[in-house]
């Protein structure tokens, strides 16, 4: 082990040193899972210059000064999607002083409680302890999603890169988040039917601001924010029940909204309609129990059924601390019938496309940002770990607070224990 640690440390140091003088990199001899139509390329090289992938192919020549990484046949994938999370918006879930993901103004529930102008991205802290924990497991980006218990409209979020930069928002990814079905009950007076009623009112306030008098749902800022989403903006609806998903899709289309379904336990029941309307679904693959009456149809092969029907899918377990588990979701989807490449796509190119950053990220191909992960084995396997992660061509320091704790106590235990 000591040898392996030393080798890893040496490799990391090397990469860091390489990055300091030049961030250009040639990864040689990898099993490249492109997450694109090119599929998997054996014994392939990937050239990274200026933080971008500039070439993918066999036997690439190494430009002068480039750092060379010998993959020795190991798997290389695009950086993975951490799901819908609050990484950088919270540290400890149960400590309110560390959580910035939810707006809870002290107004009565019916009064101005729709704040679609609430945008969580300025609260993002790239120095959060959650960032390295996710990043060293191959999660290079996540979608910041506001949470809401009380309001139907949670607010806006966006994708962020997890390389630690302060200005981390990825352009084109801004989305509005809305709770639907029983998840939105509290914000709609207890009936999901009222969710349409309230939305009708909000949309009228946007389109006919002069009607927004006493008892309006939206402030002027809220009207402005919602207006952008009524002109083809992306709205993530958290909905589980098939009948809700169906209504939401019709409703969204009718009002010029581009819907994304998050949750979708029963999406498989209306897979063909979702495919026809090109509505993507974010799933927690492992959510197979009837956790409530919205999810009586939950099943493990939801992802496989949606894929066969042609629905675009992505995976999210909506768990900030456990964003790294998204990879395990993908593996389980394979165990339950989803083709391997589709499962990889559901944590790489799929979500990148869904959230509007597919031109820049999510695939290994020329021109894309060099968010890459070199794996110890099959990238979807629970016995595999990330050997090295790069974000925008920069090697990630493969340490977190957790690895520091491990090293401290492993050392202590080894010197103390009788064995």
């Amino acid at each position: 082990m000591k040898v392996r640690c030393l080798v890893a440390a040496f490799a990391a140091a090397n990469l860091a040193a390489g990055a300091a003088c030049a961030q250009d990199l040639l990864i040689r001899g990898a099993r490249v899972h492109t997450a694109s139509a090119a599929g998997t390329l054996e014994n392939t090289d990937v050239l990274i210059q200026g933080g971008r992938i500039t070439d993918v192919g066999a036997g690439l020549a190494a430009p002068a000064g480039v750092t060379i990484v010998e993959a020795k046949g190991r798997a290389l994938t695009p950086g993975l999607f951490g799901g819908l999370t609050q990484i950088g918006l919270k540290e400890i879930s149960l400590e309110p002083s560390t959580v910035d993901a939810e707006l809870e103004l002290l107004a009565p529930a019916w009064q101005h409680h729709w704040r679609p102008e609430f945008d969580v991205t300025p609260a993002f802290n790239p120095r959060s302890s959650l960032v390295p924990v996710a990043r060293i497991e191959g999660m290079t980006w996540t979608m910041l999603a506001p949470l809401s218990d009380r309001s139907l409209v949670a607010g806006q979020g966006a994708a962020v890169t997890l390389d630690g930069r302060f200005d981390a928002v990825l352009g084109g990814s801004r989305s509005l988040f809305v709770n639907w079905g029983s998840a939105g009950d509290e914000g709609s007076g207890g009936s999901r039917a009222a969710q349409f009623m309230l939305f009708d009112q909000a949309i009228r306030e946007v389109r006919q601001p002069e009607t927004a008098g006493e008892g309006a749902l939206l402030l002027p800022e809220g009207r402005a924010a919602l207006k952008t989403y009524l002109a083809g903006g992306r709205v993530v609806f958290r909905a589980e029940r098939a009948s809700d998903i169906r209504q939401v899709v019709h409703y969204a289309k009718r009002h010029g909204i581009k819907p994304v379904i998050a949750g979708g336990s029963e999406a498989w029941l209306i897979a063909e309609q979702l495919a026809a309307a090109d509505v993507p679904v974010l799933l927690d693959v492992l959510d197979n129990l009837p956790g409530d009456f919205d999810r009586l149809g939950a099943r493990l092969d939801n992802a496989a059924l949606l894929h066969v029907a042609g629905v675009r899918i992505a995976f999210s377990n909506d768990d900030s601390h456990q964003a790294r588990k998204n990879r395990q979701l993908a593996g389980n989807a394979v165990a339950h019938g989803l083709p391997w490449n589709a499962a990889l796509a559901a944590i790489t190119s799929g979500p990148a496309e869904i959230f509007g950053i597919g031109n820049d990220r999510g695939r290994i191909e020329k021109g894309k940002a060099a968010d890459l992960v070199l794996w110890s084995g099959d990238p979807l396997e629970v016995t595999t770990v990330a050997d090295q992660v790069w974000i925008a061509g920069q090697p990630v320091d493969m340490r977190s607070r957790q690895t520091e704790l491990r090293d401290r106590y492993l050392e202590r235990l080894r010197s103390n224990s009788v064995r």
Binding site: L94, L289, E381, V382, T383, T384, V385, L413, S417
Partner: protein, 476 residues
């Protein structure tokens, strides 16, 4: 209720305290009855009515990769099941007449998995208000409640766990309270009552909780405990009260003995103390009749609880959750306390902030280390094998060299040990219950699925025959 029925009831409940039981009046057979054939013993209230079911013909599983749960791996191994028990394990076993032979070439066989921390049935699916039966959060010490009395056998989580190879589990009360009540160990079989699931002869558990949960629940109500020191004072007072209760029963027992010796022929029988269900449970824990399972995250708090156990003379069977167990791994091993842990949960509250992925491997590291992978989750219980695989991988990456035959113990024999059922199940050894899983490949893989799951030699799940798989009433 008849008089003798009442006596039985008493002795059943206070099987809890050896003391208390010893002092109950003789249960029935007088001298005359003793001469006649022993009557069929009446069933103790709340006791197991589990029936293994007809085991049918012997089953010979051939040519599998077998992880025995004792730390051994057999390649090309055979396993023979007869009369619900493991009859033999080895290679090239002879099939008895009429045996069903299963060719398991390329497949893996393990003991049935055991989850020592589940809330299936007490926090069942669907998780709606009417189903919130896991925390009697009305007092910090509710040692008198039993999780089994909340257990809804129609929780669809049971059949899902069976698909994941789980054959035995302990259902515990929640962690709102310092002392939350008794847990129950069940066999994962479909049945309309919990009694029919109850693992025959298994001791009950006692759920205790450290740290944030009790102090948050009660502190939020301006009631003790609101601090960690309040927590500890709460446990200590409760056990001190139980010691006093034990003394009262001992005194009564002495008086009863005098009475029964008939020194004074006209003496009236002494009046027993009033039963106190809370103190009865705590006394049972001090007697070792109920096994203490302690929800406790932080290393320093675990050390406090070990001192508490020493002060009151009880043993902690396992610390549960223990995200910091790795900081105390050598102490846990030395004290013979298991760590029932998650592979990688962390950060959802401050006491879980130091969780690391090597926790299980580090707790496993010392010579007598007893690491257990638990779920505390209706999702996690469905894939304990994957959780163990992750923990194994992290340990191996840290240089601890953990092969699958070692890691499988975390979800089988070590779990059985903490529940006190290691003589019956948790490993594939001749004479043990035939709780067996046949996997379609290496169970330490995300792609592995259980092909067949046997409980006491009875095929309870068969992936090839979906129509024969158990289905709760709720799932219909």
């Amino acid at each position: 209720m008849t008089r003798s029925g009442w006596k039985l009831c008493l002795s059943a409940v206070c099987a809890a305290t050896a003391t208390a039981c010893a002092i109950q009046p003789e249960a029935v057979p007088g001298p005359a009855a003793a001469a006649s054939p022993a009557p069929e013993p009446a069933r103790l209230p709340y006791s197991s009515t589990y029936q293994a079911g007809a085991s049918g013909a012997p089953i010979l599983i051939r040519n599998a990769t077998i992880l025995t749960g004792t730390g051994t791996r057999l390649d090309g191994g055979d396993l023979l099941i007869e009369n619900g028990r493991i009859a033999a394990i080895g290679s090239k076993l002879t099939a008895p007449d009429g045996a069903a032979v299963i060719d398991a070439n390329g497949r893996w066989v393990t003991p049935g998995l055991i989850d020592v921390h589940s809330h299936l049935g007490v926090y069942p699916s669907p998780s709606i208000n009417a189903h919130s039966d896991g925390n009697e959060a009305t007092d910090p010490v509710t040692a008198g409640v039993w999780a089994e009395h909340s257990l809804w056998p129609q929780d669809p989580g049971f059949e899902a766990a069976l698909r994941g190879g789980v054959t035995t589990m302990q259902i515990l009360p929640g962690s709102a309270n310092l002392i939350g009540g008794r847990g129950v160990t069940v066999k994962n079989v479909w049945a309309p009552t919990y009694q029919a699931m109850k693992f025959p002869g298994a001791k009950q558990g006692l759920k205790m909780a450290c740290g944030e949960n009790p102090k948050r629940v009660y502190g939020g109500r301006q009631k003790a405990p609101s601090t960690r020191m309040g927590n500890v004072a709460g446990y200590r007072q409760a056990f001190a009260d139980a010691q006093d209760y034990q003394e009262q029963w001992k005194e009564h027992e002495a008086k009863q003995a005098v009475f029964e010796a008939k020194i004074k022929p006209d003496a009236t029988p002494p009046k027993p103390p009033k039963r106190d269900l809370r103190l009865e449970t705590l006394a049972a824990a001090m007697q070792g009749e109920v096994l203490v399972h302690n929800h406790c995250y932080r290393a320093d708090e675990m050390a406090t609880m070990l001192d508490l156990a020493a002060e009151f003379g009880f043993r902690i069977s396992a610390f549960h959750h223990g995200t910091e167990a790795y900081k105390l791994a050598d102490r846990l091993a030395a004290d013979g306390v298991c760590g029932a842990l998650w592979a990688d949960w962390w950060g959802f509250k401050l006491e879980a902030y130091d969780g690391i992925q090597e926790n299980i491997a580090l707790v496993d590291y010392p010579d007598d280390g007893c690491a257990i992978v638990h779920s505390d989750s209706d999702e996690g219980i469905q894939r304990l094998n994957q959780e163990a695989a992750k923990a194994m991988t992290r340990g191996s990456r840290a240089g601890l060299d953990i092969p699958p035959e070692r890691a499988i113990r975390w979800v089988t024999s070590n779990a059985a040990r903490s529940l006190g059922i290691e003589a019956q199940t948790g490993s594939l050894e001749a004479g043990k219950m035939a709780d067996v899983v046949i996997w379609n490949g290496n169970p330490f893989s995300v792609y592995a699925l259980a092909d067949q799951v046997y409980v006491d030699g009875v095929l309870r799940f068969d992936r090839a025959h979906p129509s024969d798989q158990p289905l709760s009433d709720f799932s219909l």
